[in-house]
Subunit: 232 residues, 2 copies
Amino acid sequence: MKEGPDIAQIGALIGDPARANMLTALMGGKALTATELAAAGGITLQTASTHLAKLEAGRLLAQRKQGRHRYFTLADDAVGKLLESIMGFAAGRGHLRHQPGPKEPALRKARICYDHLAGDYGVRMLDSLVARGAIDAVGDGLALTAKGEDTFKCIGINVADLKTSRRPLCRSCLDWSERRAHLAGSLGKALLASFFDKGWARRTAGSRSVIFSPEGERRFLALFPVETPVAA
Amino acid sequence: MKEGPDIAQIGALIGDPARANMLTALMGGKALTATELAAAGGITLQTASTHLAKLEAGRLLAQRKQGRHRYFTLADDAVGKLLESIMGFAAGRGHLRHQPGPKEPALRKARICYDHLAGDYGVRMLDSLVARGAIDAVGDGLALTAKGEDTFKCIGINVADLKTSRRPLCRSCLDWSERRAHLAGSLGKALLASFFDKGWARRTAGSRSVIFSPEGERRFLALFPVETPVAA
DNA sequence: TCCATACTTCGACCGTAGCCGAAGCATCTT
DNA sequence: AAGATGCTTCGGCTACGGTCGAAGTATGGA
C-alpha cells in the first residue's frame, strides 16, 4: 500500500471472467460493438455496458462512436502486448480454459495477436526471416537488416513508410501456444495485412484464428521455408 | 469462454489489493514468512494464510518449510517478469498508488527487481555496458559479447559458471520508473549479488529499494560511466 | 512435560461487485 | 412523426469472496 504502481487495479480489471473474455475477443484486432462484446462475454447487454465503462475508465479500451454503434478496441498495442504476455504466462502454468474446444488446433496453427500473425505459422515466419538474414535476432530482440529491407520490398512492403510511425518496426512477442517468439511491431502488422490483401488468408467470424486458403498456404510456406521441414 | 489460456484466473489472483501487496513485497527477492507477508498486505495472519494458499495453488508462489517458519518466494523468475511488466504497464497509464510516499525517490534511484538491479542505476548500468561494447543490444534483446566476457571477468564475475544454468544469461526487463530497459537474467542477478558482496550497497528492511554506501556509489558510478554525465 | 511461537482451518459476518429487468436516451429509418 | 435499433442508467437481488475471532495443528525451546 505504499510503493510503486498499482498492479491490483489492472489485475482486478482483467480478473473478471466476462471482462477477460471481452478483452480476449478484442485481441482479434477488430473493433467490436457493445452487443458483440456482450455475446463474447456471455452476458447481457446491460452488464456488458458497465464492464466496458470500467475497462475504458481503466484505459484498457478505447471507443469511437460511429452512427448508433459504439466500437471498442484495445486502447493501444501496449494492452495487446500485456494480454499476450499474461496469456503466455497462464499457458505455461497450465491455466487453460476448461474445455479445449475443437477450434483449438486452428488457433494454435495461425491466429491474430492483436494485429499480427501468431501461432505455429507466426513462429515459422519469424524463424524463416531470421534464417535468411532479413531480421537480426539477439536475445529476444529483433532488428531489420539492410538485406531484410530488400526482402520486404520484394514481398511488396515498403519499409520506409512504416518507419515514419513512432511505433517500433520489429518487436518480438512471446507466443503462448508455441512458447517461442513471433514477429510483432508495425512490420508484423504489415505482413499480416498483406496476407489478407493477397487473399492468402482470412479472419474467422467469432474467433481469433486465421484460415489460409489452399493456394495461400502453399504460397506462404514457399515464401517462408524452414530448414528442417517439420518441427525443430 | 472457449479459446486460449485463462487470463482471468491470474488476473483475479493479482487483482486483490492484499495479494498484490504481498506479491510486490516478494519482488524484493527475499523469501518472506507468512507473518511478514500479512504485515505487507495489511491484513491479519489468518487472512494472509488463505491468500497465500490461493497464490500457491495458482503457482505464483513457492514455499519451503524451515523449522516452524514457512518461507514464501515467487515461484520462479517468470512470475517476477510478469509482475514487473504489469507494473510497467500500470505506471505508463498513471495507475499509481494513491500516496507517492517519501520512499519513492529512493525507489526510483535503485531497487531490486526480483533478483537484479532496477531503477535509474539499473538502467544506467545497462547503458554503460552497451556503450562499452560488453553487451550487444538489438531491438529489446541483449547478448553478451566476447569483449564483455573479459569485462565481467575483471569485475569478478565468472560468466562460464552462469552459462551452466538453463536460465538465460542476459535478458532485458522493462523498468517501470524509467520506462527503459535494464539488465535481468543470471548475469543481472550476479552483478547485483556482487554489489552486496563488496559492501557497495545493501537492501533495506521493508522495501525493495537498494541503498548505496558513499564509497559504493562512487565505485559504481566509476565502473559504469555514461557519456552525458547527467540524463539523456 | 509444558508453554510459546508459527501457522492453518473453521465458522460466521459483511460488503462489494456482478447480474438482469425495466425504463430512459440517442440515433437511424421510413 | 413514429417506430426500430443500439446502448446506458437505475434499482434491487444475489452470491461470492474477503475478513477476522476462535479453535486446532505443528514445531521449538525450557
